[in-house]
Symmetry: D2
Subunit: 285 residues, 4 copies
């Protein structure tokens, strides 16, 4: 198991940023194992960087590193900064409703070691997938939601996530709109929407796609923000369809997209490869 530090940083662009950061690592005897940078071509030039370095001979002890990095980047007026250690495994909660394909796909990737995380719990608003979840040995918590109970249930869910030290929530076809309060209180939250956003926002996207007669259908995984289906997109993919595909075929084919696209977004997130900037993401792959 590697023992690397990963710094994710965005700040206004100016000369010398790469030199200063790589010097900091080098003079403290860190060996850079990956470095990616990007300058966004928008109105204000924004600099994005991901740098990972080996901590074996690094002079700054792990528990002093956050402060040292903060000192380093403070003059850059950072928009966002994250410091991660590969030894700290991400802790994920999966939220599901009745559809099993994304759940099984993530659990199978977890079991095989492809997804190098802990999954301490699954949350659902239905009993449907309890057996599937428990088969894989993951505790399954049901919080039925009605308009009357929604606020209380969400508070319970939040408490449970905190108890389990969850740092990432994955909405794996969770068919309940979250309240703004919950969205604001959650850690990083990743959703899968079953269309190629921004086409076919909202419910029943495959029916909409069928009626519009499109020749390609898609799926979109994005961070959850207060604006439904408007969060920064992490991954998208599409597949061709023809007039032979009825709504049921689109749903069936779409499931393959959904599980693959969600898994890809989760993978990039837990490898600490994603920075956001407004409605855009930088995904260093």
């Amino acid at each position: 198991m590697r023992d690397d530090a990963i710094l994710l940083l965005s700040c206004p662009d100016r000369p010398g940023l790469v030199a200063e950061i790589s010097n900091f690592i080098h003079r403290n005897r860190g060996n850079i194992v990956a470095l990616d940078e990007h300058v966004d071509a928008g109105e204000d030039a924004v600099f994005f960087m991901r740098v990972a370095w080996d901590l074996r001979d690094f002079l700054i002890p792990r528990d002093a590193l956050a402060a040292a990095v903060a000192d380093l980047v403070r003059p850059f007026d950072p928009l966002e900064q994250q410091l991660h250690f590969t030894k700290d495994r991400p802790r994920l909660a999966l939220f599901v409703s009745k559809a099993s394909h994304c759940l099984y796909d993530l659990l199978a990737r977890h079991e095989s070691g492809e997804l190098d995380v802990d999954i301490p719990l699954i949350v659902s608003n239905h009993e449907t997938l309890r057996r599937g979840a428990e088969r894989f040995g993951v505790p399954f918590h049901v919080f039925p939601i009605t308009p009357a109970t929604k606020a209380t249930q969400e508070r319970e869910e939040l408490a449970l996530l905190r108890d389990h030290g969850v740092d990432t929530v994955v909405l794996a076809r969770y068919m309940q709109v979250l309240t703004d309060e919950l969205v604001a209180a959650l850690p990083a939250t990743i959703n899968i929407h079953h269309s190629f956003l921004p086409a076919f926002v909202g419910a029943r996207p495959y029916r909409q796609a069928f009626e519009r007669g499109v020749k390609v259908v898609g799926a979109t995984s994005h961070y959850v923000t207060a604006q439904l289906d408007e969060g920064p997109i992490i991954a998208q993919d599409v597949m061709p369809v023809t007039h032979r595909d009825g709504v049921a075929d689109l749903v069936r084919k779409g499931r393959d997209l959904e599980k693959t696209v969600l898994a890809r977004a989760v993978w990039h997130h837990v490898r600490r490869r994603v920075l956001t900037h407004g409605r855009r993401t930088v995904v260093f792959d």
Copy 2:
């Protein structure tokens, strides 16, 4: 050169349609060289068929065939019927503005024989591409459009199309909205829109795509109807993009999609493989 008849038909579904049509051809000594059928899974079951047969030993003479086919299909209450002969080459007019990529692409396919049609003229609202068009030996007609002149110019264009026996108009990045009057008077008209419809309707779709932060961009070729960007889609395709792609990159990459998708739609149309039904198409490939 083959001498085939092609029948495109849509009608309410009922038992025996394939048998009746194939019997008609068979008993008149036609050999079916291609037969495709489709029943649409919508609320009303609609039957679509494309059948092509060799006319060499066919008993019904060419000039009596339209009437015979009309007699055959009348009891089916057809929604749409088209009878074509492969010996009649489609006659296309290309409409362009300033961007050359779709124009050159279609002209090169035409010159190489891939696109087996006649292109008697090119129409533009600008002089920009005159030299490009004339290089390929195709007459180039300019109709500058202002709000004041639009109606008159469109009538001139229409007269020109009729003079040249044009049966298909291709809007190859023609950046003028057609009036409803022109749309109603035109023969089959195919447009290319530089986005994955229904996402990013209207102007500047690549800028919209950039700002939304999508990870895939697309292009859509559709028949033109009175509703802008709402016509039945014939072909769509997409390509992945990343945060590294600025608006200029999306425009550059998008050109490859636009020319390929438009050419594919034109190819299917002139091979008489497309039927429409509301906002949907059946493309027999």
Copy 3:
């Protein structure tokens, strides 16, 4: 549940085939629900057809249909003919070794009802996946293979398949070469090869792909014949890769291709949509 008959037929092409077959169905009061035909453009024109019709009002009883169809098609000198009833669920045996992704994917599709088949057993040459299989309630049979035991073990496997009425074997990353004797005795057998065949035949295709520096990797699902990796291809798909992808990344990304491509091939096969002709397949989708 629909009660349809499905006829798959290939024979030398000649005029009137569609008319004769559709007449047979129509005059016996069958309603054609799907009809696809294809004439292969090879040296000898071969006619392929798939036709499905509703048996509700059909005049010929189910147990007399095979004989009636045999009488119908005999004059066509059929190369291949298959008659299926949608009420007869296909019975699949899955063969696996140590990799779980294809197994879990197929079992999850089965459990959700997407794959409308029976899976009476799983066969493996290792104990590794026993727990995964038994979680889904499917009996798991282990036949360790050594050069000395191979012939005996294969005979045991074959007997087991017969006892369970298996009509389709799926090699879901089964990492043992089958003997020619077993291949000859098996019912229809579908394999997944982890490369875009015919590139990278044989072992370690991802390492080969890495070393060759390809920019796209693929997966191939094919029927198993005596020639390893040479059977008729049912489905293929690919994904782009870059210099950033090491062998481990290719393996990881490839798993998504493998499970999707295998599932697609199995789906087409069990829907009775595939005919073979030499090393080629006709897949009516």
Copy 4:
């Protein structure tokens, strides 16, 4: 027009490379506008880097930069180093035979400004495309090749390329095998092969693909080396095909792949984004 320097470098990996190079640029008042690095995961860790910086305020004059960079990188034991200036436009020669699609595609991209290069000449072994080339105002030179004349003609071609200061040769469906002597003497040379290499090496790949019954066809653009079809791959792409596609359809569909893939490879090459290492390329996009 930007005035940037671009350094492409590969060398054995060791700590501090990024810091040293970015310091060199920074302390000489260059502003880094793009920096990409990659460490190859093969047996020997190899470091690859592309860095571009703005020369406006740079302290080292342009004509002293090559020597300064050589001094900088010498201690790194470079495997390959290239220094380019964006103000120096690449000079391309296109080699063609009879097929026009890649030629027209490149000329149209050149005329529209997408491909920011000079194309001083076109070389062919046939007269066929003279008119097409001259339409675009590019001199067209024909060197008919027979076994007897091949060596002499190649020497003439080489002399012509040198006279025109050509630094990149593009084989745009040039259907003549180059002698080893010519390959050794040519500057960087890019070929398009009409298959997904390493599948279907050699002649008639679409016929081979048809006979093998593949469900995907591809195209590959690669640098030319003495081993035919074995050079480092720059770009590949594929498209799905079905049993409905005969050899002529594969050829037709393949042309779209060929022109797009070749254009993409040329674009990356002339933007100085490609490094090679054995049979692999690093393409910084």
